[in-house]
Subunit: 383 residues, 2 copies
């Protein structure tokens, strides 16, 4: 008999998606049970979360601090993701951290709610392969793939095209020449969404949107030429599908990550959360859709071009972008140098063997190499 | 074995929906076969249609003219709707004409593509009862219920509310006081849709929208307090659903009746029609949603109030509105007198017995009585 509660492990519980996941779970004490929590460095918040949700297992980066926290140390994220007491693993880590836990969780028969989209950029084929072989579902958490997933209900064989919406990020109204002098503070001021720092910068460059295209390619088994991106400033339409007969189904809602998080956790049910107001079209302003200007977003085409290549290219892209964004936030490179850094790293990447799928360690090593190379490139150039 | 072609009878083939139905069928000669055509007075067009589609059975109002047309006379619309050679009956007649054919077709095991929404206004309970008892589907043809039907795919148990969009009709930008002097020509100039004359006037009064609310109530078994109407000037979003968790799914497409007609005919498949361009969100302008101003549309609340009552009230409403619209088009009453005429008729209606469902003859008689009474009311008042 299935457990009456859905038992959840939250990997990355103190980040933006992690805290919002716990906010959703808080609203449904009879539906969800937090079995395990892991965090990075934010020990204060983790301690509060442990106090409130009383998980059996905990994990954080600081092994000394971990000893003082209540709850059992489960050794590693992979072990947390494969605990027999867990039904759903919320992977809300960032960068490479989610890759091994995602694959191991799928292999261990868990559903994976995947917010850490870099996992699919690095190893989309391997992850989807694990999902298929072990017949476990990846539940999209990002608002755009979640919207597509929801629009595809009842339409699996009738989808002709995916249309991913993009707010355009913080600099959608700048000219390409103005972008050279923008500051990290300006870039972090996203017009519609409140998110983590890395993803907010990736939204300004549209790398995040390229990642979503790649993510949708893997999640929905859709060829790249059937995935469009349109600028939609209001972030109300979270994405759309075009059907075989030429109509469009759109998913509308407030720009609040708790909706897609909740859907991933409650799927296939939809449940009413008194803390989440139903969307009212009359209260929203005009909705607009525009073509994307590739000149304003040079990273987009670059990221798609590299990210769709097989083997370790996606990992190289991910690692290079991660380091480039960090260096921009550290004021070490200009906003307009982000694509230059990515390109410099990619130009140096020589994948070992393109006929076999790289194993996950090779993928993670490539991401680390790319990140290190990006930093070395900048140190080199500033001498 | 099922017949390889879907065999269609088109009732009302020379009207707006009828001709567009044949336009869709023309695009799929290997999918649909026209078995029967019926028209009213437009013999010239009917003869052309017979020549092109070569139906086995034909029908028109003029029995003498019918003799000269190729194809077998099938006696009545009910007989046409129950022909053993027919799989789907497209009921694109207007007013009372579609009621008996719809019910008889359902009883005879046919699917009914229903454009003649008055059928559900007059006898929603009886029609849905026939659909359930004989397990035959009513396929919505009107763009709004079709959009809801399509949005509900995969969401049957998760729908919290239906949101029907209304263009607002020809006079959405007039003040209530300006409406007294509008002409039939102005009222027939619909801002977004090209439709028949009766439905275009019903769009200007929003009686058509009230009819759609009642239609949706019956088709989707949804309580009236869970059906909203919002003004959406662009007629791109054809309707929406709100789900249990507070997101909205919307159906977007060009305002062209051939899309919903085709979907009704091809359901559950979606098929590509080279004559129907896929909808492109980038090519559309801003999309807006506004609350409806009840002062501008006094007919709306009146029609909902009367149309939702059981028994013969819906038929009285339908007959009164039909006559009122005709008299407005004949310049015999003002646009603003349409609700007065409907109200006068409704005030005189005394249903026989509210405990039993009226039979279909009583329903049709009530509609005729209401139409006659509406005309008598106007003749009386102009003396």
């Amino acid at each position: 008999m299935a457990h009456p509660m859905r038992r959840v492990a939250v990997l990355g519980s103190t980040g933006s998606v992690g805290t919002q996941t716990l906010d959703v779970i808080r609203a449904f004490p009879d539906k969800f049970d937090v079995v395990a929590l892991s965090a990075g460095k934010n020990l204060g918040l983790l301690a509060q979360q442990i106090d409130e949700f009383n998980p059996e297992y905990v994990l954080c980066e600081d092994s000394e601090a971990l000893k003082s926290l209540p709850g059992r140390d489960c050794g590693s994220l992979e072990e947390m993701a494969t605990l027999p007491e867990v039904d759903v693993v919320m992977v809300s880590t960032v960068g490479s951290a989610g890759l091994l836990p995602t694959v191991r969780a799928l292999e261990a028969g868990k559903s994976v709610a995947l917010a850490n989209k870099e996992v699919l950029i690095m190893a989309g084929e391997q992850v989807m392969d694990a999902s298929r072989r072990f017949n476990n579902q990846i539940l999209p958490v990002d608002s755009e793939p979640s919207a597509i997933w929801q629009c595809m209900l009842g339409e699996r064989d009738a989808v002709r095209k995916l249309i991913i919406t993009a707010s355009g990020g913080a600099f959608r109204d700048r000219s390409p020449t103005e972008l050279g002098n923008v500051t990290p503070e300006e870039a972090l001021n996203h017009p519609t969404w409140s998110m983590g720092r890395k993803i907010t910068i990736d939204s300004a460059t549209l790398v995040n949107k390229a990642f979503e295209v790649i993510e949708a390619h893997w999640l929905f088994d859709m060829p790249y030429d059937k995935i469009d991106v349109v600028i939609h400033r209001q972030s109300i339409v979270h994405s759309m599908i075009e059907t075989a007969d030429g109509i469009v189904k759109a998913h509308l809602g407030s720009p609040d990550m708790r909706y897609p998080i909740q859907y991933a956790l409650s799927h296939p049910q939809r449940v009413f959360n008194p803390g989440l107001k139903p969307f009212d079209p009359v209260e929203t302003g005009s909705l607009t859709f525009e073509a994307m200007d590739p000149q304003l977003y040079p990273c987009f085409e670059l990221a798609i071009d590299v990210g769709r290549r097989p083997g370790t290219w996606g990992a190289a892209l991910m690692g290079a972008d991660e380091a480039a964004v960090e260096m921009f936030l550290e004021n070490r490179i200009k906003f307009t140098e982000i694509p230059d850094v990515i390109r410099a790293v990619v130009d140096q990447h020589t994948p070992k063997d393109s006929t076999n799928l790289p194993n996950l360690d090779e993928v993670i090593q490539t991401a680390r190499w790319a990140s290190d190379t990006a930093r070395a490139t900048v140190v080199g150039s500033s001498n």
